[in-house]
Symmetry: D2
Subunit: 223 residues, 4 copies
């Protein structure tokens, strides 16, 4: 459950916000199975739209990468979102009688717009690192939540969701993302990045994105 040095430091800098995100009531309701089906379906629909823009943000990262390796890693994540994670949502929603056209036509809630467009703007206004710092809380936070829920879940109908994020495939992708971040930061800020004046900007990006995750769960809990 350790996804690299930078993640550890950024997570610490986010403090209570990180805990509020990873232990949100919505997460606990997935864990103990108390989440109403209606809320889960509402979450899936909003999350589908989230993933559209999150995939766009990983594509933006390709345009801001500094090495072929960085380009390849970001392009692979973008494709994995479009062809993998989004298709899981399509399948889950289809099982509930919601087809992909309805999914794509869902009205984006304000908290959803805020999060994805913030991440995209972090990329457009800043550099590759600022974009990675804004992308990290979702990618790695879901990994952390998945791991914890794998261990602690009760008798819950949301076991599929938990195994998606707590399972070995997603955990491997978190390890890769963490290594991408550590390498990218080291290349640009040196071996003690926390001493660079730019470090605080990265912590701020990570913390704001974490705060927007909390807002997303809150929105998800209120269909």
């Amino acid at each position: 459950m350790s996804y690299g040095d930078c993640f550890g430091l950024w997570r610490q800098a986010a403090g209570q916000d990180w805990h509020d995100y990873t232990h949100h009531g919505f997460v606990e309701a997935l864990r103990d199975g108390s989440l109403p089906r209606e809320s889960f379906l509402h979450y899936l629909k909003q999350d589908y739209l989230f993933l559209v823009h999150f995939a766009r943000a990983w594509a933006l990262a390709v345009t801001k990468a500094g090495t072929i390796g960085e380009m390849r890693a970001c392009a692979a994540t973008c494709s994995a979102l479009i062809d993998g994670e989004m298709q899981l949502h399509v399948k889950s929603c289809a099982a509930e009688g919601v087809d992909e056209a309805s999914l794509a036509a869902t009205t984006e809630r304000v908290e959803n717009i805020a999060y994805t467009r913030y991440v995209l703007d972090a990329g457009h206004s800043g550099d590759f690192l600022e974009l990675l710092a804004a992308l990290a809380p979702c990618v790695l936070g879901y990994g952390e939540i998945g791991t914890r829920l794998m261990e602690n879940a009760e008798n819950t109908p949301y076991r599929d969701w938990i195994e998606t994020y707590g399972g070995p495939d997603y955990q491997k992708s978190c390890a890769r993302a963490g290594a991408l971040i550590d390498d990218a930061v080291r290349r640009r800020l040196g071996d003690t990045p926390e001493n660079s004046p730019g470090w605080q900007v990265l912590c701020d990006r990570f913390t704001t994105a974490t705060r927007l995750e909390v807002g997303f769960w809150q929105m998800a809990a209120t269909p």
Copy 2:
């Protein structure tokens, strides 16, 4: 109070959302003077941050313009926001004991982030017209609100605010913005733009930005 043909059509397409924005309880409380001072100060602080990113969006429009005239109009609006409207907020806040450093250090609320980053993304993902359509509700809606409140305001401590947006300078800038939009649309979509397949996208951008204005007032009303 007519700011051009496109505005008229977009406003109509936004329907009830436009009314909810321009007649929001926050606006009515400015009009009749019932708005708590604390809410107004909170609004000014969030609106200062809004203007930072709104000025960035007008600068983005310069990079997407198709003629020197379009570039000049957008650059002038960007400068007017930085040197004019933002300075009014600085002055108003100073009078309440809040200096510019505190203003800039205010934590952005989610509804604020959602609105400005949505506008910026409309520009990055689309063309000049999509950006203008997302910029229009704020610029022209404030003009419409100002005009109405100039006529109907009661004994209110917020007369300065009303006269800023209802007064001749701001109204002239609205007329210019409306003409910029009409010219830009005609140049790209022809004389009956509403028959172009791209028209609906512009209506959607305008309506979503209007919906985000409603969220902004709601946030402003809850310090």
Copy 3:
């Protein structure tokens, strides 16, 4: 060798520039085998750098797409460039004793910079269609050149290159790109896009990119 309706019209609009590009002396020298090895190696090195930025431009297209299908198509092309076409160059250069680090450290020639950054700017300043119009001459022109050289090549050491672009895999990707363009244009400009005021902008983007292809061959011919 027909890659869709828009390509046919854009190609026609580019006129003599299209012929100058697809029948350039460099191409003829690949066909008849008279191209000096040194020029070919120089071309491969510059083209490797070209592909880096061309992949970035296809990633930018993902951020500007309007449907999941458009996103998927652009992301797949981006990945195919990074994992496929660029690796062919790496392999070809390795066979000549030039490793990937040397490739990446090659100094970009002015004509190369002009072309790729023009394409990227077409995307940043315009919409998805403007970007596609600037991407099309390279993708589809190579398909056309490959097809012609498959039929007409003489005894040439550059048969591998010819078979890469004239072969069925690349031809299929050209057919897909042509269909992506036709669908994207129809969705945004309707069934008679050439009557839209925005059509000329697309022709201009295509023609300028074609002109920059001519410059690229010229540069390739002078190591």
Copy 4:
């Protein structure tokens, strides 16, 4: 003729390229009056197009700035280019019988496209500093050239041009740009920015832009 610490270091890093730019044959021909009128007019027309995209790049800088002061400085430069420097070109060209519509319709030469789109891409792919480093050679190099030619010009018909860039107004704007750069770099990279791993990237941006200036002069010398 000193425009700040970073400029001094970047200029040194550019080495011979900086000399080739600031002492190019085109510059010497302005100085001694031997430049053919036709070349000068050709230069003015291409430079007009250059300024269009250079103003766009300064607008992009507004969207990437980190403080209100940085936003204001970049917005002011953008406006000064549109309303000042470009109008000088319009006036000079009008005196030669070339109106603004013809100016805007000039076909951009490859070297011109390469330079401006490279600067824009430095902004889109990097952060505020990378964009400033790519903007600096033009702004400050013209200041340095103007200063030198003020001292050494012979009997030349291009005295107006020399006085524009060697005169106090332009020199003041160079001093401001140099200070903007030093402040921006210090804020992001600390007091010894040359020890930061990111420093080399800035030197590379500056040097490549300088190299593209050399190409621009070469193009200007060949109508």
